[in-house]
């Protein structure tokens, strides 16, 4: 089975090809079923591969399948090869699994869309790229997937491209990601230049053995982190992600919450020996950026009124948490949180999509409320997602967040405090969202609201094909924590599974105060979650406290506005200046020289135009004569 792991990415690719050729003929909903089947089969293959790998001893759990040689010139020998190891199989499992559920959901959500089959073509193409990214045996194959997911993200964000905001958001996402790609590319150049290879195995081996200079390791690690900041929406490059919500909601769930945006965390984990071999301050940089992003985005999420924007900033914040983990040497915890986050955030996004669907494309939470009565299944599953992300035991998010906080405490107490505040804010804004959407007063049949042309709307529950994925994801959000529980050797399954990949780079915290008092930290985390929830209930449900949502938070600290102004103002002016210089100075000199010569020439004798024509004709005639002469000689010889 492990020899067939190339099927995992190829199956969705085949689905995409089928929809490329026959999509229009298949139509709605069959095109969707084709795509879903392709992804489901891919999931099945991954599960089989997983079980086969489970049967192998830990040190043999690494299998490379070489498909064909891709770019081979001189010392650079890069093959299109896929690697099955514990890390890539975990990634492939949750990517294919969640993709299947979201494909299924999208059959219902996209029903009736004029470009139904094209949507599934892009979606399959995305899954293919994402799987190349995680299964790549070397940096270049990962980069193939990395850019592929970026392109698919671009297509899907601007899927409703007649809407200008969607078109702008798509472009913004691609270009911002490219800034990050600058880091990935230069990291590859540096790795090849110093090691002569781009293969993960060889690079990590030389990092482990100490063959790689510390300064080079640091540079490679931080350059890759620049790429991660782009793809995984960290400060200062996160700007594209909130705008990416312009895409259809299944896209937000799949690409901009569960899978693509975690690529940066994956890449850091894949290259963890490089970070381990770096200067000590390098991982600290990552942890600080992660913590800053986590806190920053959480403060912004508190003041958002668009149901998807809350979740978008929440995603940025949770990704910051994962980088906080990476920077603290908690790779297992990072992957753990990535997986549980994929469960509950996909659930929340799909739930919000169900709400939007039922509310006839209304996204403003101020016009919702009391929806639990008309959308019981959506409400129930959304509430499970809320409990999971808020950090309430025994739901999945609690365990993974706690694991991260444990490592962060051991590493840096200042960052631990930032992590706690973020956790508090997370519980607060998610409770706010649940109250605004599902509880309180129903604001959707309120005539006084400036609803304009829409008039009254009658919310309704979504079809079964959309609800089924919600139910599955809510189950996963309940039990997902079981893969890694803090109760000792027998419960840390994920840690043992990932050990061959990250064991050496993982921080060792068993001797620390934090680890010895881990149950105390557990209690602190629970208290924090409860305080956050209680505060939110006090403000939004009971109105005991005044609502505080300053405009500066709603506007995300004006960072996006400032960046836009910088680009539209001095940026565009600078670009225009260069274009002006080109036309008027660089070309001006050329034309100046030209006209001087022309004047001299015409004062000498003929009109310039006739001169050139005569010259041109002379050359062509000469050439013809020369050629004819040659031909004659050739015939004679």
């Amino acid at each position: 089975m492990l020899d067939l792991i190339w099927l995992i990415p190829v199956l969705p690719l085949a689905g995409a090809m089928i929809n490329l050729v026959f999509g229009r003929k298949l139509g709605d909903p069959r095109a969707g079923w084709v795509a879903t089947t392709a992804t489901a089969t891919s999931f099945l293959v991954t599960v089989l591969a997983y079980f086969e790998m489970l049967g192998l001893p830990a040190e043999e759990r690494s299998h490379i399948v070489n498909l064909f040689s891709w770019i081979r010139v001189g010392a650079l020998q890069v093959d299109l090869a896929v690697l099955a190891d514990p890390l890539s199989i975990v990634m492939a499992l949750f990517v294919t699994g969640i993709s299947t559920l979201i494909h299924l959901y999208a059959i219902g959500y996209m029903h009736g869309d004029a470009k139904f089959s094209k949507f599934f073509l892009y979606l399959n193409l995305f899954v293919f790229s994402m799987l190349m990214l995680v299964l790549g045996e070397n940096l270049l194959v990962t980069f193939l997937g990395w850019e592929g997911v970026g392109a698919c993200s671009y297509f899907l964000i601007s899927f409703w491209h007649t809407r200008n905001s969607a078109a702008v958001a798509g472009k913004k996402a691609f270009v911002t990601n490219r800034i990050g790609d600058f880091g990935v590319m230069t990291a590859m150049f540096l790795a090849f230049h110093s090691l002569g290879t781009l293969s993960y195995g060889a690079i990590n081996e030389s990092a482990r053995s100490g063959a790689l200079a510390q300064v080079t390791a640091t540079a490679i690690g931080l350059l890759l982190f620049v790429g991660a900041c782009g793809k995984s929406a960290q400060l200062p490059l996160y700007l594209w992600l909130p705008d990416a919500m312009e895409g259809p909601t299944p896209v937000s769930a799949l690409i901009h919450a569960a899978t693509m945006v975690t690529s940066g965390v994956f890449l850091m984990t894949r290259m963890s020996p490089i970070l381990h071999a770096s200067y000590e301050w390098a991982p600290t940089v990552i942890a600080v950026v992660g913590a800053a992003t986590a806190l920053y985005a959480a403060t912004v999420a508190v003041a958002q009124n668009d149901i998807k924007k809350v979740l978008a900033y929440s995603t940025v914040s949770q990704l910051g948490y994962m980088f906080l983990a990476v920077g603290s040497g908690a790779y297992v915890a990072a992957i753990f949180h990535m997986v549980t986050h994929a469960f509950f955030k996909a659930l929340l996004f799909l739930g919000s999509g169900s709400v939007i669907h039922g509310m006839h494309h209304e996204q403003d939470m101020r016009r919702m409320g009391a929806l639990r009565k008309v959308m019981p299944v959506t409400a129930f599953t959304f509430i499970i997602g809320w409990l999971a992300i808020a950090g309430v035991p025994p739901f999945a998010g609690f365990w993974s967040k706690d694991e991260i906080l444990l490592y962060v405490y051991a590493n840096n107490r200042g960052l631990y405090v930032v992590g706690l505040i973020t956790a508090l804010l997370t519980a607060f804004y998610m409770t706010r969202q649940v109250i605004m959407v599902f509880y309180g007063k129903a604001n959707w049949n309120d005539h006084s609201a400036e609803h304009g042309a829409h008039g009254d709307i009658t919310p309704h529950e979504s079809p079964k094909v959309m609800l089924a994925p919600l139910v599955v994801l809510s189950l996963l959000s309940i039990v997902g924590g079981a893969m890694q529980l803090p109760f000792g050797e027998n419960f840390n399954f994920l840690e043992r599974w990932l050990a061959p990949v990250v064991e050496e780079s993982e921080a060792h915290i068993y001797e620390t105060w934090a680890y010895q008092n881990k149950y105390l930290l557990l209690v602190v985390a629970i208290v924090i979650a409860i305080v956050g929830i209680a505060a939110s209930v006090a403000v939004y449900s009971k109105s005991w406290l005044k609502v505080v949502e300053p405009k500066v938070l709603e506007q995300a600290w004006y960072y996006d506005a400032a960046a836009s102004r910088l680009i539209a103002g001095p940026g565009a002016a600078g670009f225009n200046l260069l274009a002006w210089i080109d036309t008027n100075i660089v070309d001006g000199i050329v034309n100046g020289v030209g006209s001087v010569i022309r004047r001299v020439a015409s004062s000498l004798r003929r009109a310039q135009n006739g001169f050139v024509r005569a010259y041109a004709l002379l050359i062509s005639l000469g050439a013809v004569v020369v050629l004819a002469w040659f031909l004659l000689r050739g015939a004679l010889l």
């Binding site: 064909f68 040689s69 891709w70 770019i71 081979r72 010139v73 001189g74 010392a75 650079l76 270049l140 980069f143 193939l144 990395w146 850019e147 592929g148 392109a151 601007s158 491209h161 007649t162 200008n164 078109a167 702008v168 798509g170 472009k171 691609f174 270009v175 490219r178 800034i179 790609d181 600058f182 590319m185 230069t186 590859m188 150049f189 090849f192 230049h193 565009a572 670009f575 225009n576 260069l578 274009a579 080109d582 660089v586 050329v590 034309n591 030209g594 135009n609 050139v612 041109a616 004709l617 050359i619 062509s620 050439a623 020369v626 050629l627 040659f630 031909l631 000689r633 050739g634 010889l637």
Partner: protein
Amino acid sequence: MISANTEVLNFPILTMLVILPVIGSIVVALLGKSRPEWMKLSALISSVTTAALSLWLLGVFKSGEAGFQFVSQHEWIRQWGISWHLGVDGISLFLVVLTGILFPLVIVGIDPHHDETSYFAWMLLLQAGVMGSFLSLDLFLFFVMFEIVLVPMYFLIAGWGYDQRIYAALKFFLYTMAGSAFMLVGIIATVVLAHRDLGVVTFDLVKIAEGANFSTTAGRWLFLSFAIAFAVKVPLFPFHTWLPDAHTQAPTGGSVILAGVLLKMGTYGFLRFGVYLFPQAAMWARPAIFTLAVIGIIYGAIAATMQRDLKRLVAYSSVAHLGFIVLGTFALSSQAVTGAVMQMVNHGVSTGALFLLVGMIYERRHTREIAELRGIQHVAPIFAGVFTVVMLSSVGLPGLNGFVGEFLILIGSFGPARWWTVVATVGVVLAALYLLWAYQRVFHGEPDEANSSFKEITIREGLLMSVFVAIIVVSGIYPKPILDRIEPSVAALISHVEGQTK
């Protein structure tokens, strides 16, 4: 060492590649008035046969060999040591094939609208000149071919171009001509100086390169004389300003050929003549050339971003792309030079395709102003899809051809030209900016009245573009057959340079 492959086919395939278009051109010119219906057919037959020959050449070309193959050498002017000396190696092979297939596509795919006879005659003569330039191994022959090319291109721009065609054609002609004047002097000086080392007067490229030993100063002056001609042709910043005018004013067919193969005569010239003949001087000039190339990358990209005319935008993007190629050429590592050679072909394919698509937009809308276009994807999704693939190839998306060349250039240049490469990589970011922004304005949004009747791609256009899309996808996923043919010749050239500069 580069040595002539002694094995010569009985059939003079390279000579035929040059002569056939000439014959076609003459036949077209003769038939034009009396039998217009035969005229078009003979243009077609001539170009398709040339394409078939070039593909056959690709088939029989021996992969893994460094030297020149299918060498054809006949004495021409004995007392001056000038000969009809043609040969093909990995560096020129794909440029020859590209020249072979691009012309019939242009001839079949684009209508000149008026004066068909002279249009096709000039086209075919142009093809002969370009073929000759890529195949010549004799300095004199190369110069003749290099110059011949100017004439048909001048008439194509001036005769079938847009509003300011005369100005643009003149500028193109005079600028390039001025550059070549330096090269002519350089060629003669090279032959004279090489005479001392070789004992004979010869214009033979291989003999001079392998046998002559120029003094440091002489080598530098000679290199510069060639370099000016090629820098204008490429064009390298700051010699690029003829290009946007020529491209914008040229008819679509002219632009496709100009971007597709004509500019490559500059980059190819640098490699085949500049670096091969004067390795020491080339190494000496490297920092300056790297700098100009990298300026071109960033400068071209920024200028492209701010263009209001779609065709001008593509023209400036060429300045940026050619900057990458020059950077790779002079980095002189096997990855960088192989990447540069492949990128010459890639740029020809993707930019040629972009010019075709812009031409199709102009045919429909009679404007190329970005501000006049809107929402085309909504009314012509297939057209937009083709444009997207070509655009992503130009942006350098992995999995498509543009990435392979660009990546090889950059990773190969990182060693010899680290900081230049880092700056050049910024150009990769900018490429996404100018193309995606243009795409957003032209294809996205709600189409207004003028654009809502934009016609979907026709079958003829679709077939034409499918050739480009196929090359873009296949050589992006599986570039091995291409790289395997380029690399040995590049390796030989690099070891020649290393041998001379030790």
